[in-house]
Symmetry: C2
C-alpha cells in the first residue's frame, strides 16, 4: 500500500485505499446488485461509506446497534433499514419508533423470542423479521419456533416481512467446500422456518458466503468493503482497502536482532483474530513480535535487503486481522489514492 508523506499525517491513522474500496464495491454490485446486497453498517460505522454504497446501487442496509440505525436514518438512508440484532431496551426501541416517524424511514427489527416480539410491538415499531438460528450459537430462534413467533407478532400488530438467519459459524472457514456444504444444512433450516413464517424477505449471509448462498433474497455483507487479514485467507475477489498507518518511533536490538517500534497498538486494532500484519515500504511483511497498548514491535523478514530497515519517523502499514473492532476504535478514515490523501470520512456511528 502506498503511504502518504509522513509530514502530512498524524498517526495512528486509519487509511482507506479508495482504489481498493471502489474495486470492492464494484465487484459486489456486479455480483449482487441493488437490494440483493444489504450492506452491514457494523463493519464500517460511517454514513460516508454508506453514501458510497448507495452510489454503487445499494439502498437497503442492516445494522448491529440502535445507534448505527438511528444515525443512518437521520443521515437520510430511509429506504429500508434493518436492525439485524435483538433489542429488549424499551427506551432504545421507542427511539427507533420515533425515528421511523420523524424520518419516514422503513425500520425493521429482528426478533427471536416472545420477549423481543412483545417489546417491539409495545414500542410501536411496525416491521420485524423472525431471526432463526441456523447453526451459530448466538441469536435466533429454533426453526420450529419461527411460525408461532410470526403469529404472535402479527397478533401484536406487527408486519412480519420474513426471516433472517446468519451462518456465522461458516463465515471464516478458509475451505470453500466446507462453507458450501455447511450452507446447505443452514439454509434448509432457514427455508423451513420461512415456509412457516411467510413474507418476501429471506436475509442471511455475509462476505464469506456472498457468492455461495443462493437461497436467500439478500446478503448481509459489510467486511468486503474494507477486508482484513482474516478474510484475506478466503480467496475472495475483494482487496484489502484498510490499513493503520503507524510511525516508527523507536528501534533497538534483542539477541542480536534489530527490532522496530511503531505507534499502532491494542487501542487501534481489533485483536480477537490475533495480531496484525506489518507491511514495510517495499511491500514485504515484517515479523510481528507483539502489540501493547500504543505500540507494535516488529523485525525485518529474514531475506530483507539492506535498504529495508525503516528510518525513525518513517511510516509502515499495519493490516488489522479483524476489520469491525478495528474501525470501532477510530474517529475517521483518511482516504488515500496512490498514497495521496484525498479526503477524510468521519466514523460517525460508533458506540451504542
Amino acid at each position: 500500500m502506498d503511504l502518504p508523506d509522513p509530514a502530512l499525517l498524524s498517526t495512528p491513522a486509519l487509511l482507506l485505499d479508495v482504489e481498493a474500496f471502489d474495486h470492492n464495491l464494484a465487484t459486489m454490485a456486479a455480483a449482487l446488485p441493488g437490494p440483493r446486497c444489504r450492506p452491514h453498517v457494523k463493519a464500517f460505522k460511517s454514513t460516508a461509506v454508506a453514501g458510497a454504497l448507495r452510489n454503487a446501487g445499494h439502498g437497503t442496509f442492516c445494522t448491529a446497534t440502535v445507534r448505527e440505525l438511528i444515525g443512518m436514518a437521520q443521515a437520510g438512508f430511509t429506504e429500508d433499514l434493518l436492525l439485524a440484532n435483538e433489542c429488549l431496551d424499551p427506551r432504545r426501541l421507542a427511539a427507533l419508533a420515533a425515528t421511523a416517524e420523524q424520518t419516514g424511514a422503513t425500520i425493521t427489527v429482528a426478533v427471536d423470542s416472545e420477549a423481543t416480539v412483545d417489546a417491539a410491538a409495545a414500542a410501536g415499531l411496525r416491521h420485524v423479521l423472525i431471526d432463526v438460528n441456523v447453526g451459530l450459537a448466538r441469536c435466533g430462534c429454533d426453526p420450529t419456533d419461527a411460525g408461532w413467533l410470526a403469529e404472535r407478532a402479527r397478533g401484536g400488530g406487527l408486519e412480519v416481512r420474513g426471516v433472517m438467519g446468519y451462518e456465522g459459524h461458516l463465515m471464516g472457514n478458509p475451505d470453500r467446500s466446507v462453507r458450501s456444504d455447511g450452507l446447505e444444512v443452514s439454509m434448509a433450516a432457514l427455508l423451513e422456518a420461512h415456509r412457516a413464517v411467510g413474507g418476501e424477505v429471506i436475509s442471511g449471509g455475509g462476505t464469506g458466503t456472498y457468492d455461495l448462498n443462493r437461497w436467500v433474497t439478500e446478503i448481509q455483507a459489510g467486511s468486503y468493503t474494507m477486508m482484513d487479514t482474516a478474510y484475506a485467507q478466503l480467496g475472495l475477489p475483494f482487496r484489502q482497502a484498510l490499513a493503520v498507518a503507524a510511525t516508527v518511533i523507536s528501534t533497538g536490538t534483542r539477541n542480536g536482532r534489530r527490532y522496530f517500534v511503531a505507534d499502532c497498538g491494542l487501542k487501534a486494532l481489533g485483536m480477537d483474530h490475533g495480531p496484525p500484519d506489518v507491511e514495510l515500504a517495499d511491500g514485504s511483511a515484517a515479523k510481528v513480535w507483539f502489540c501493547s497498548d500504543e505500540h507494535v514491535t516488529f523485525s525485518l523478514p529474514d531475506d530483507a535487503g539492506d535498504g529495508a530497515a525503516p528510518a525513525l519517523g518513517a511510516l509502515v502499514a499495519v493490516r488489522p486481522a479483524h476489520v469491525d473492532p478495528t474501525v470501532a476504535y477510530h474517529e475517521r478514515y483518511v482516504v488515500v489514492r496512490g498514497g495521496a490523501i484525498v479526503d477524510e470520512w468521519r466514523i460517525d456511528l460508533r458506540g451504542w
Copy 2:
C-alpha cells in the same frame, strides 16, 4: 458486583464500582503517597478519574498519547505531566509546547534517540526524561547510550530531569518472585543509566511491581484504579472495580446445553488478553463460549442451581481481561455504589 436496575441502564455500559475504586485509590495512596505514584492516564482516559486521584493526593501524571496529555493540561492538571512515550510528530510536539505555554503546565517528554531529542528541542519543549530499555523490546535506549543522549539534549537547551524505564516484560508475571528477581536486573540497568544522566527523577514500574520496585523515585501505575481479570491473577490488594453491564437478549440450546447471549462483544472489550469473565447474578462465573462483535455467548456453570439461569432482559457483569483497551471503546463510566447509579464520568481522553 451488584448491578443496577435494568430499566435504568442501556447496555453495554461500562460500570465503575466506586467502592472498589475508592479502596484501590486509598490502598495506593497509603503505599505510595503523593508524587511517589505518578498515575498513568492511559489506563482510564478520563479527567474525572484524574480528579479523584488528585483528591487522593497524586498531582503528577503520565500519559501514553499527546491527546491524553493536552486534555489533562487543559483540564487543569498542570503540576507535572509526563508523556511516557516517544513522539516524532512535529505538529503534535508543537501542540504540546503551545499547551505548556498556554496552561502553565510543566510538560516533560520521554526521548530515546537523537531523532526524538532533536524533535523535542525543535518544537520548543523544555523538559525530557531519557527513556531507557530495561528489558521490554519496546521503546527506550540502550543503557550505555543514555549519557550521551542526555548530553545532546542539554546541548539542545533541554532540561534533562532524569530517566525512565518500564519493566513491562515482568508486569503481568503471576509469580511474585519472578517479578522481584527480574526487577533487580532491570533496575540495575536503569540506575546505571541514571548515573550517566543525572537529574532527580527515576521513573518506572507499574501496577504489577508497585510494591516491589524500591529503586525508582516514582511508580507509573494506572491499572490498579480499575483492575482486570489478568491483573487479578497477581494477588495484589486491589479490587476489580470495572465491569461491562450487558443485557441477556437471547437464549438457545446446543447439544442439550442451554446458552445465553448478552449484548457485550468485541467492540466493548479489549480482547488481546483473551475473552472476558461473565459473572451471574449470584456471583458465580459463567462458562464463556465466545465473543462476536456485539455479543458474548455463555452457559451456566456445571453446579448451577435451578434459579441461576438469567431471564431475557436481565443484566450480567462482564469482566474484561485487559482494562486499557476496554476503556478506550467506551464514552463514559456509569459510576455505581451498591448497585445504584450515582454518577456518570466522561471518558474524554480517547483517540490520539
